[in-house]
Amino acid sequence: MLKNRIIPCLDVKNGRVVKGINFVDLKDAGDPVEQAKIYSDGGADEICFLDITASNENRDTIYNVVKDTSKKCFVPLTVGGGVRSVDDINKLLNCGADKVSINTAAVQNAELVIESSKKFGSQCIVVAIDAKKNGEIWEVFTHGGRKNTGINAIEFAKKMEECGAGELLITSMDRDGTQVGYDIDLMNKISSIINIPVIASGGVGNLDHLVDGIKLGKASAVLAASIFHYGKYSVKEAKQYLDSKGIPVRI
């Protein structure tokens, strides 16, 4: 039986982890490579890096991080943040990323999703959708959640599937950083209308939220950042908890 995945996400800025794990035995708490290795040794099913480097001069730092990580971690590695072109995707894949997530550029230019999924295969194209409730609908936001687009997130999700995305990473802007749980309605609605896997993101504060994301939100995978960063729970504890709730996980 296919297992539900737990994906810890690390925010990386100028090649350094922002909000890293606070383990005393860490040699360098800001080193993304070392943190990724801790996650993969702990049973993470995938690792996700979100590059939040703002300045263009420092954009190359992520390539070295990906290169080093892919030599030490032998689970899938997804990298997103600032991906604008086929060339950006190519560079990340050549450095050792297994999947690349596209956010703003997918909204601005759906052709990029079509072209890159044809060129590299759907399996490595993840479209990341940031959505916020606006009245009765969820609206797509871009530029790290700063710009609204007027686009209906559910319709956009369907469109991205048609364009060739292999997976969708859905983040609820309302829940992100709140620790009150995923937006289950949003996850469930999107997961029900598309046939590719949904990765739920935004709002995890405890292990029951992961359970809800899978059981109620129908997500194939759950992504979380802060509950793992601060050592509140380990990936192993999260998996054992999911297992105790009857959710199939790789243990």
Binding site: M1, F74, N195, R250
Partner: protein
């Protein structure tokens, strides 16, 4: 020993390279090339493959003499070859992804879309799933039955002769996830992304 990972522009092979280099350390020489001479003189060959069946077959054919060199290596000289993902799928006679495309015809059979039971099962089949080992395979030495492997695919290899199947995995149906016929080995899952247990399979292939 020389192992060649065939680089034929089939998409992203850096994870395959990293995993083989990690296992090989300095004991085995890992080449990444499409150079025909180097392939001919190798002891073992790894044929990765990402993207569609058609795009991989087209990419192989685009390099003049490559298909013949690989056939000579694997079929005439019977040297060990490991196909990964679409690399395995191309062993078949024919594939149906995008459009009907002829494969290498090394193990007779076809490559068809996984039955998603009218949308009940999501495709691609992405993530970790357990393998049921159905016959002894040299690359599964010290690999426990029901081990987890990482998969990402929508199509599966269906060989005519079921005795070449070495493992299956339970999804919408019993999906074929590895095959072995004499010197030919293939995995639908990605050993290079299947953590320590996947590296063990790579080690088994290197140690054949």
């Amino acid at each position: 020993m020389n192992i060649t990972i065939v680089d034929y522009n089939s998409g992203n092979i850096s994870s395959v390279i990293n995993s083989f280099k990690k296992v090989a350390q300095n004991k085995v020489n890992i080449e990444v090339t499409s150079n025909l001479k180097k392939i001919k003189s190798s002891d073992k060959v790894v044929l990765p493959g990402q993207g569609s069946f058609k795009s991989c077959v087209d990419a192989l054919k685009n390099i003049s003499g490559l298909v013949d060199t690989l056939s000579e290596f694997a079929i005439e000289n019977k040297k060990p070859l490991l196909g990964i993902c679409v690399g395995l799928q191309m062993f078949a006679d024919i594939g149906y992804e995008e459009t009907e495309t002829k494969g290498l015809g090394w193990i007779s059979g076809k490559v068809s879309k996984i039955d998603n039971k009218d949308g009940k099962y999501k495709l691609p089949h992405i993530g970790w799933n357990q393998i049921n080992i159905v016959k002894e395979s040299k690359i599964f030495k010290n690999i426990k039955n029901n081990s987890h492997m990482y998969f990402v695919h929508s199509y599966e290899f269906i060989p005519n002769d079921k005795s070449v199947i070495s493992s299956t995995t339970d999804y919408s149906t019993k999906v074929v996830c590895s095959a072995e016929k004499e010197n030919l080995f293939g995995t639908q899952f990605h050993p290079e992304k299947s953590d320590q247990i996947g590296l063990k399979i790579i080690e088994n292939f290197i140690n054949l």
